[in-house]
Structure formats: structure tokens, C-alpha cells
Symmetry: C3
Amino acid sequence: MNINDWINDDLPKIVDAIESSIFDEEKVIDERSLNLAGRNEICAVLDDVLAALFPNAFNRERVSKAEMNFFLGDILRHIAFRLRRLTRDTLEFHCQTQRCEECDCDRHADEIVRNFLSELPEIRKTLLSDIRAALAGDPAAGSHEEILLSYPYVEAVATHRVAHQLWKQKLPIVPRIMSERAHSNTGIDIHPGATIGAGFFIDHGTGVVIGETVTIGSNVKIYQGVTLGALSPFDRQGRPTVGQKRHPDIEDDVIIYANATILGGDTVIGKGSIIGGNTWITSSVAPGSVVYRGSEQKAMNRD
Amino acid sequence: MNINDWINDDLPKIVDAIESSIFDEEKVIDERSLNLAGRNEICAVLDDVLAALFPNAFNRERVSKAEMNFFLGDILRHIAFRLRRLTRDTLEFHCQTQRCEECDCDRHADEIVRNFLSELPEIRKTLLSDIRAALAGDPAAGSHEEILLSYPYVEAVATHRVAHQLWKQKLPIVPRIMSERAHSNTGIDIHPGATIGAGFFIDHGTGVVIGETVTIGSNVKIYQGVTLGALSPFDRQGRPTVGQKRHPDIEDDVIIYANATILGGDTVIGKGSIIGGNTWITSSVAPGSVVYRGSEQKAMNRD
Amino acid sequence: MNINDWINDDLPKIVDAIESSIFDEEKVIDERSLNLAGRNEICAVLDDVLAALFPNAFNRERVSKAEMNFFLGDILRHIAFRLRRLTRDTLEFHCQTQRCEECDCDRHADEIVRNFLSELPEIRKTLLSDIRAALAGDPAAGSHEEILLSYPYVEAVATHRVAHQLWKQKLPIVPRIMSERAHSNTGIDIHPGATIGAGFFIDHGTGVVIGETVTIGSNVKIYQGVTLGALSPFDRQGRPTVGQKRHPDIEDDVIIYANATILGGDTVIGKGSIIGGNTWITSSVAPGSVVYRGSEQKAMNRD
């Protein structure tokens, strides 16, 4: 049978089979949810936020000193309206699915957008500390311009600080889409729930995983392939450990070299410690520790 | 010499040198082969297949219940024609290079496309089991919508199930281009030849490598950086092990934590085993094994 | 307060705060620097260079034998003009920031572009040796076409050989933007300063890091997750080791399996050695060594 006859005779059966699966099997997604267009719009708003934070790096047009105030006013207003619509749609979709009766999604969306935009000057300040940390920490770094335009971690950490602000306000899904865009572009996977202090630097970055309940202090430096993860996604009764503290805490001034793995919600890497490459750490180490591959057991304070 | 004079005087010599290299040295590619336009077309068809499988996640337009049948019929017909042209061109190119005399590429292309489209309802069913596995397996997962739109593994596993169907029908190159698109976007590298059961979940995913002759059972969960690979690409006589079984088998209900490496065509990870992070396994482990970093030697059944 | 009132009343304060941060805090970037448009233009020129090197793989149009000379002349002329403008702008920006008085950026830009284009036939020849190495080294590789169009390492190594030529001429930032584009697309992070011999092959590739002062001989093969890095970014006095030799040398005919880590500027991996997966090497190993996980200490020639 040639393809044209087959399309007329047999394709309708395949169409019906997929349609049945969509409507009769479990509902995984419906027409009110976000789709690719929504995901693209979230990424476009994120791009505008980055352009507002560093106009002459993440914008496509040069902005002179005289034009700067107008440029910022214009792009932030544009961000406000688009983020508000995305936020309200997202809140309403997730609200309705939980059959909430007394919601006020419209007012709530206004509040999230206002809080978010009000936080941008502080986010910029923190990102400046991150860029300083990169310049101080990498002998191969030539200039601020080189860091902003060619270091993948800049996109990862800038996206994280933006997404984390929305995550703290409990906006569903939008922060995760932002962080996964950065993950796809950079290989650096930071859950938007992670709390990360100023002066943070990730060199190379591919394969880094930073989990939802991680906390990281100030002036921490991390290399490629480092995992800050959970010991297990299930507790001793086999239930998912949703909402529990399950990832480590990294105190100030810690350096973690490539492919080190640090796991567990009770694990604290003490201030100023140096964690060598390819180490495997599942309980706390004291402040000022130096842990090399092979010396982990000695370094960990087992209870 | 300024650049304009140089372009007139010297650039033609460079053009000639490159042209000679293209035609006189070994022929690596010719005008009948796929080029970037062909690669982009393969990715565009793949995007349409994903949109047909999950219309309100991977489509750009919302599709209501009333429009669904029409939408699916339209997009599947469009996929059929484009995939058929790509398939026929690919078969003809590879057929001619092998100086086949009795081929029937046109009929063969029809057959591949028919078989592929007929398999889509089954692929959708399996992908639903994968999404259920993600929701059950990751404490940070909030909803089906979040998984579909923000988990990189969804693109990786959906692309794999589509590409594997074409690979089973021995269509050259097209499945590899599909899987490498997913690899580029997600950091998850699954060879289209790998056989993967239902309820499969990869968390985080960056750096995962799953080789051509791997088999994976049902309800298997894998974390970032896991390699299921070959012990060596060469046999004891130094010949490439083309077409041989050279990658491991993972039985049902196995969990493999981050950065574990499991190698070799005789290696079987027995049903229900838990393989800890950063382990290194080069021969079989019994069903129900729990292997931690440092306990590998004890766990492996060395013959 | 609804969002429209808030935009009128409060947004201007946020605009002013960001503006102050841009002009009053440290200057990280200014309007003369590269921005996203410049970064995109660098990537577009790189795409044209790849199309000139392998017209029927990395071009969007098919080019017949009769058209080839015209096609190459046209695209190389186009590359020459665009690269010259990018190069001159970059030289001038970096020149002014160093308050150079006697520069001749315009002439210097001509020279860089001429040298670069003159090197393209040699770069093509070396890339052909890399493609041969892939075909010989990977049992899963089916054809030159499959390697060119679906192996991520082709983009990584072709980009590297192009970027390295510009890096050798001390063009700031442009080579790094090129190499980071390849890093984002492939997960393979090769600093443009690294020196890499002919017949180089990287399989899978995600997570590979090759540092600035690495040298690699001929016919070397590397797998995913391999780090060729520095022992520390600081010397014994805590100063960044800028410009120093700090990454290893890999001699001819070496194979380095997945996730091996080789560190340090004094570390030499001797000719013909085989370095097993997940090994950790911080000093030299003799030619012909075979190092497995666990046998590193024995293999390293500690001074």
C-alpha cells in the first residue's frame, strides 16, 4: 500500500488511538496548562530581566549613559506586564486544579511581580559580587567583559538568583522552567529552591547539581561535576522526602574541587574547608578541614 | 597589504587549496548527503512528533478537546510526508554508496514511515509510564505539567523512544541525529540502539551515557553522570567490536545513583539491585544486591 | 496597589537604583564592549567558517562540484569582512582600556584576519585526521556523514582548531566566546589556549574539561567526563597562577577512559599509555603505562 492510500485508510485509526489515550487515560496535561509558547515566553522574560541587570552585556543594542534611564524604565515596564500575565495564568491554573474557593490570584500576581521587581537592585549587587569572585578566582579570566560574555556560570547564577526570588514567593513551575533553561545551556543544574550567598563562583560547571534544600554561604567556589545532593529520595519508611531538608549546607569560604560528591541533609561542610576532587562525603566535616581523595573517612565526624 | 587588496590577490589561493582538499583528498561528504538543512528538518519533524504525543505541552498552540482529532490528523499527515521524503533520500544515499543493484528504497521508505506512525500510540503509553515514574520518584516533582515542561529527561526519553523505533527499522543516521539533538539539549547521551523498558526515570541527567547494546528492564531509575558503557571498544585481537554486545544489561527495578560506572557486555545488574553513587562495576551483581562505594569487589560475581 | 499604579509610582525608584548601580559602583561593562549582538555575530562568523571547511555538511544549501569555487570565494570574502570588523572593534576596545598610545589596531586586525584565513586549509587537513580517528576509534560509527552530522565532538574540535588560531594571535575574548558556544552545545569545554595534535577523538564528551596550558600529542582518544586540569588555581603563595604552565601534557597515542582526572603542570602522560576510567592522576606516568582504577599510586613516578 502506498503512503497516500495508507494515510487515507489507516492513519485515522492512529489518530483515534492517540486521542483516546489523551482523553481516556490519566490526564497528564490539559489545554489550560503552559505549553511551548508559554515556556518560550518565560525564557523571553528572563532574557529581558538579564538585559535590565547588565544592559551592555545581555542586551542586543548598545545603551549610552544618556539613554540608560529610559532604557531601564521601558524594559522593566515591559517585564512587569508580561510577568504579571504569566504569573496570573500560572496561579489560576494551579489554583483551579486544587479547587480553591477563596483565591485572589489577580491580587497575588500583582504582589509577586512587585516584590520581584523591587528585589532586582539587590540581585544586581549580589551578581556583581559573583563576577568579582570569578575574576579573583580563575587565573584564566581576563576581564569583566570576558566573564560576562563567555563564562557559562554567569547565566547559571544570574538565572538562579532571579528564579529563586520567584520560588521564595511560591510561584509554581515558572522558576523551574527558568533554571532548566540555564541547565540546558550550561550543564549547571541548580534547583531554584537552593539558597546561595554572595561571591559565588562555579568554574567550567558541566555536571554540577545543587539540590532544592542546599544552603551555601558567602565566597564559595565550586568546580565542574560537583554534586550537592540527597542521600536518598526516600526516608527510612520508603516515603518520598518531599519538603524535608535533604541536601547539605556549605559554610562560607569553602572550595569544592571537580567531581566531589557531598550528600545528605545533616551534612555541613564547615567554614573555610577545602574539599578535594573526586571525594565522597556523606556526613559533616569540621571548619577548616582539608579533605583529599582517600582521606574522607578521617575527615567526616561520624556521630 | 590592506584587507581588500589581499582578498583580491591572495584569497583565491586559499579558496583553491580548500577546494583541492574537498575534491582530491578522501571524500568525507558529498552534495547528495544530508547537510545542516537536512539536520534541521529531522529536528523539526521530531518536534512535530513530540507535539503529536503531548499536544498541550509540546505544541505552541492550545488544542481544545473539540479540535484534538483534527489537530492530530493534520500534524500526523504532515509528519508522514516529511518523514517519508527524509527517509527515502537517506535510504537512496546510503544505498547508492553501497552500490546496491536491486533496492526498492521508495517502497521501503513507505514501510518505515507506516511502521513508525503505527507505533506512536504505544510510544505514548510507554512515555506516560515514564512520567508516572518521575512523579513517584522525585520528591521535588510537583505536577505532571512541571515534569513535562521542565524535566530535561522528558525530552531525552521521548526522543529516545521515537529514535529507537526508526533505529529498529535500520534507517541510517536519522535516529542518531535525533538522539544527539537531545544530548545537546539535556546532556543525556542515549544511543538509539539501547532497549529501555517502561517506567524509566533519569534525574538531573547531565553526563549520563547509555551505549548502543544496553538493555534496561522496567521501573529503572538513574541519576546524573551514570555510564552504562563498553569495557573497551576493541576485542582481544584489537578489532573494533562493531555489532557485538558490549554494554551491560540492567534488570527490572534497579536504582543507579549518580556517577556510577557499569561496563561490559557480560555485566548484568540483577533485578531490584541498588547501585550506589561513584561505584565502578565491571562484572555482574546478583539480584537484590546493594552496592556501595568501596563494596564493589565483594558484590561482583567474578567468574 | 494595582500594578499600573505601582508602575507609575514605584518603578522609577527601582530604575534609579539599577542605574546608580550601573554608573556608580564598579564598572563591569560599558557601551563600547561586546554585547549579545556581538556574541551572536561571532557565532555566525564561526558557523560560516565551519560551512567553508565542510560545505556539504555545515552549509544549509547543497554545493555542487561546479559551484564549489564560487561558493568558497563568496563565503570566505564574507567571513573576511565580518571578522575584520569584529577583530578591529575588539582590539580597539581592549587597547583603549589599557591606555595604549601607539597602537595600530586597524593594521593589526588586517594581519590577524589574513593569518587566520591562510591557516584554514591546514585546519581542514587536521580536521580530516580527527574524523578518520573517530571512524577508526568508535565501533558504533557508521560513516563519515554520520560523524560529521551527529557526533558532538566534531563541533567541539572544529571550533577549537578555529578558536586556537585566533588565540595564538592574542585576539582577546573572541576565541573564548567561540569555545563556550561549543561547550554549551556539546558539554565539551576546551580552552582555546590548549594545543592539540592531529587525529584527536572525544567520544560522548559531556563533562570533558581541557585547560588553557594543556598539550596533547597525535592520535589521542578521550572519553566523557575526563578532566585535564590544574592542581590548584593558586601557587604556594596563594597568588593566581596566571600565565603559568598549570595543566598536563598528554603524549602521542594515549587513550584516556571516562571520568579520569589528570592534574598539574608537571604531569606528563607518556606516549602510548592507557589511562583507565575514574582514575586520579597528579604526577607523571611513564610511556606505555596501563593505569587502572586503584593502580594509580603504583603508576605515578613520584619525585
